[in-house]
Structure formats: C-alpha cells, structure tokens
Amino acid sequence: MKRVYPDKEYCIGCHLCEVACITAHSKSKDVIIAFREEQGKDGLTACKKVFEKGDICVAISCRHCDEPSCVAACISGGLHKDPETGRTVYDREKCVGCWSCLMACPYGAIKRHPTENKIVKCDLCEGREQGPACVAACPNQALKYEER
C-alpha cells in the first residue's frame, strides 16, 4: 500500500504540511476559516507533527504499520486494520478517549483532540481525490506518497 514517507534530509521545517493537513480535515476546506475559526472553536488539529532539532527537521504522521501497536492497545475496537486498503482506520464513534493508543504508539503518531475525548490520527486523507494533502503541499518533496 502507498504510505507517506518523510525524508529528514530535505525537510525545511516550514510546517506547510501541517497547514495543508488542517485545511484538508476542516469542514470548510478553506485555509483561512480553518485557521481562524475551526481551530479555536472545534479544536481542529493537524495529524502531522514537525519535530525540529538544530538544523534537522522532519514531519511525522501515522505510519499505518502492518502490525500496529495502537490496534493492539485499543479497548473499544475503534482502531483496526482495513484488510482491503491496508490502512489503520480510526472509528471516531467507537472511541472512548482512554488514550491507550497514544501510550502504545512508539511513533508519536497519535494526538489528543484538544476539546473532545477523541484522538487525532492521520487517515491518509481518505476521501481527498488528489491524495494526502501534506505531500502535495511540501515545497521541497520531503514527503513522498508511494509504495515501498
């Protein structure tokens, strides 16, 4: 399956991937409304996190592991593998906000939603025709969406 692979050699730490992620997951799909209103009011959060250390930076999001620790930890079955697409799917309705997945994922891919007892996790921009928004937004091709 295709995944988003980050390259820390060419990440320039601009955070445009986070901006694109927030926009893609907003209701309005408008970057200005997403930032000014949906972020504060609805707790809209990016699924990506940019880590920086000195000159090096990299943008991290869910790896959609073949054998995910989060699925193993989930007490409600909200996180499970989709056998067809191979993605690690998050069912928001089933989630009870226990944070076990956040604790178990050693890749830092899971965040707490700022206002609700739910998590925020990359869904590879399911439903977005052009594929993951972060990959399209990266100005330096530091994120690649491909099969390896």
Binding site: E9, Y10, C11, I12, G13, C14, H15, L16, V19, A20, V31, I32, F35, R36, G54, D55, A137, P139, N140, Q141, A142
Partner: protein, 509 residues
Amino acid sequence: MLFQPINKNYHEFCIERDPELCINCKVCVRQCSYEAHYWDEARQKVMHDNAKCIGCHRCEALCPTAALNIVKKRSDFRTNSLWRPVFLQNIYKQADTGGVLLAGMGSPVDIPVYWDSMLLDASQVTNPSIDPLREPMELKTFLGAKPRKLEFRTDKESGKTSLKTKLTPQLELDVPVMFAAMSFGAINFNLHRAMARAATECGTYYNTGEGGLHKSLYKYGQHTIVQVASGRFGVHRDYLRAGAGIEIKVGQGAKPGIGGHLPGEKINDKVSETRMVPIGSDAISPAPHHDIYSIEDLLQLIYALKEASEYKAPVSVKIAAVHNVAAIASGIARAGADIITVDGMRGGTGAAPAMIRDNVGIPIELALAQVDQRLRDEGIRNNVSIVAAGGIRCSADVIKAIALGADAVYIGTATLIAVGCTLCGRCYTGKCPWGIATNDPKLSKRQNPDIAAKKMSNLIHAWGHEIEEMLGGMGLNSIESLRGNRDKLRGIGLSDIELDILGIKHAGR
C-alpha cells in the same frame, strides 16, 4: 527607528501583509533567514521588520494564503539623475562602517544590453525555413582545437578509409549550453549534485568553479570541467584526471583583475575538505596566478596540465572581458589553449566589491564579436573554441552569441534562477533563503537535488527546442552554420561604431 542608526531607514523593501488573509501560521517566520518576520508574543501575531527585508520573495512564495507582497519602499528621495538613490544609500553605509561595499550576482547597471538591440533573420520564399519537428536539427557541438585540414589514408588490403590527422581532445555537447563555473562554497553542494546530474542527462557539461570537486561527484567526471583558479583550491592529481576538461581561470567577468572571495562564514566541513582550506577562514584567491606573469608562463601551465591529464582532456582558459580582450585571446590561442571562455561584465558572482562589479570590464556581446573577428583575421580561429558567458538570459541570447562567433555559452545566473533565485543579490551573507548561495545546513536543504536537477534539465531542454525553432526559422539545420554568421544578425538603434564593433549591419540593410 528607535535604537537604530539613521541609515537603517533607507532600506529598499517593505513587506505588505494583508490582515484579511494572514492566518498567523508562521511559515514566513520560519522561512526568512534574515529574520524580517517574527512572532510577537505580546500581540500574539506575526509581525515584521521592514528594515531587514532584502527582497528575496521567499516568504511571499511560500505563504499559504498569498497574504504577503514585497514592494519597494515608497518613501522616495527627490529625483536626481546624478545622485540616484543607490549612491546615497551606499554612502550612508560606508560612513557607518568604513568598509568595502560588497555585492552579489551580476551587475545591474543601466548600460546598453546589446542582446536586446540585435535582431535575427528568418527565411521566407527564396530560402525556405526548416520545420524542426519534422526535419533533423543538429545542435551537437564539439569544443576543442580543430585541425586546419583533414588527411585520410586508405588501407590497401581492406579498402577501408580512416583518418590520418590526429585530433586533439574534444568536449562533445548535445546542446551548445553548459552550466557555468560556480564554486562549491559560493553555492551549496546540493546544487553541484544537481548540475552534475542535469549535465549528464542533457549531454552537456558543468564547471566546478574554483572550489574543487568533491569525491562523491567524480562519477560524473565525464560531464565535468574542473577549474584551476589562482588560489589552486582543491587542485591535485586525481582532481585533474577526474574531469573531461580542465579550465584555467585567469579572470572572471564580474570582477576582472581580482581573485575569488569566499567569506569564512560560508566554509563548513565539506567545503574545507574539498577546497583544502581550514574551516572558518576566508578563502581569498590572489589576483593573478602567482606563477603566471606572462603569456609564456600561461603556455607552460597549459602544457603542464595537458601532461598531467595525459593529453586526454582539452584545456580551456577563462578570461574576463576587458578592453584589449581580443589581443589577450589571440595570445591565449597561440599559447596552446583548446578553448577560450570569455566572461562579460554582467557575469554573476557570490561576492565582489560593488565598485568593481559595476564599473570594470566590457559587455560580452562586444568582447565576443571582437575576439571572434581578431582570431579570424589572424587565421587562428580554428585553433580554439570560444565559449561566451556573462548574462545569457534566454535561448535568443544563445543564438545571438553563436551568430556573433561563440561555439557555446555558459549559463550561471540563469541556472540559479531556474532553481529559485530572485536576484536579491545578498549572496555574500551566506543566508540565501532559497538555499542556493549558502552552506548553512539548515538553508542548503532547501535545495533538493532531485528537484533542482529536474529544473536545470528542463531549462536546457526548453532552450534546446527554442534554438531548434529559431535555427529552422533561419533556414539552417545545424548550429555549425550559425557560428560566426554575422549576416544573420541586424542591429537596431545602435550607432555606427557599435555596429562596426559587433560586425553587423543595421536592420533594414
């Protein structure tokens, strides 16, 4: 401004941020290497300091909502044809610092651009034009000494004919455009990787510049011209053998008469290793080669290099276009060079004293025409190939250069523009926000060699197609037929003496 010296007020650019569009995402704060944008903790928004803006447009390019506009500062001096604003600003700076004004990239001065005053011919009726999409069009160019005549021998037994005349080594180009000498140190390593890859992909060459050649790029040696400059940075036996051609840099168009200058801030591990200089110390090349004080010395060096490369690589000599460039070129041709590179005053640089960059040298168009004519007059034009450089901006400039007598051209500034350069001219600070003229690891990663190589490659291919179109339009199907073919050019709005120097007629004649 509060707590700032008075001259800070005379900055060139202003940042305009549209409050309707700004989402405080801080991308501009992160991207500006001059720290013109900053996050104001107290006001909880992004603010900017216009005095720090140098007009590179990086923030404008990356802003996700296009909220930024970089404009010239509207606070004007009174119009004065003599005391143009730049002169005032320079004096303010020097009065404060007592230092030499530095400049980056080519000279922007307002003297005639002869490319724009020359027009090309096209074929009609009597001499039909050629359709480059349907007919073969030859752009292949060989750089090197050409023999006066060819002698053949026929093998008595097999009846096969073979060439008797020994040919000197040649560089084979699929298109008459090469990437100019820009040293590793002046620009970052990722761009050298990109140029090496693009040159290989396009069937042309790139020049290492005076910064040496890093071992990991030896594998592109067949498409590399290694440069030996006055500082002899990075010059050793393997270096000379690694390239397909060797170039002795005697001068550079942007700063004729002085040597290269790489500020200590721009020297890191890799630069230090490749140039063979200590980290952090300025790498300044001396003005002359201290072993070339006469044309005979140059001949000695040329032949020393030919020996060292076992006569397998053509040796080029790069000179700046100065007043008696034709005579110098003649001397160089007789000294045994295979190629002469003439670099005009508009050539780019990473760092040069502004006074020298803007006031020394002559335009390449005039220099090229004179060098070509002189060598023809002396009957030695065949002994060398001429490569023109110094502000070639488009494929039309390439065609005109070839018509004036060049075998090929070098593009430096154009190559950097292809990968994002906006000619802000602050290369000497080492803070290039496009990641071009810097070795700061944080900034140099902004040039991804994959992307850069593709862009450079695209540029060469695009120009190649345009050259084919223009050649076809003129009824020529081979670039050789255009070389030195002054009759294909006409001048417009030029004086008699200019037309004479260029060796072309005025349009209408």
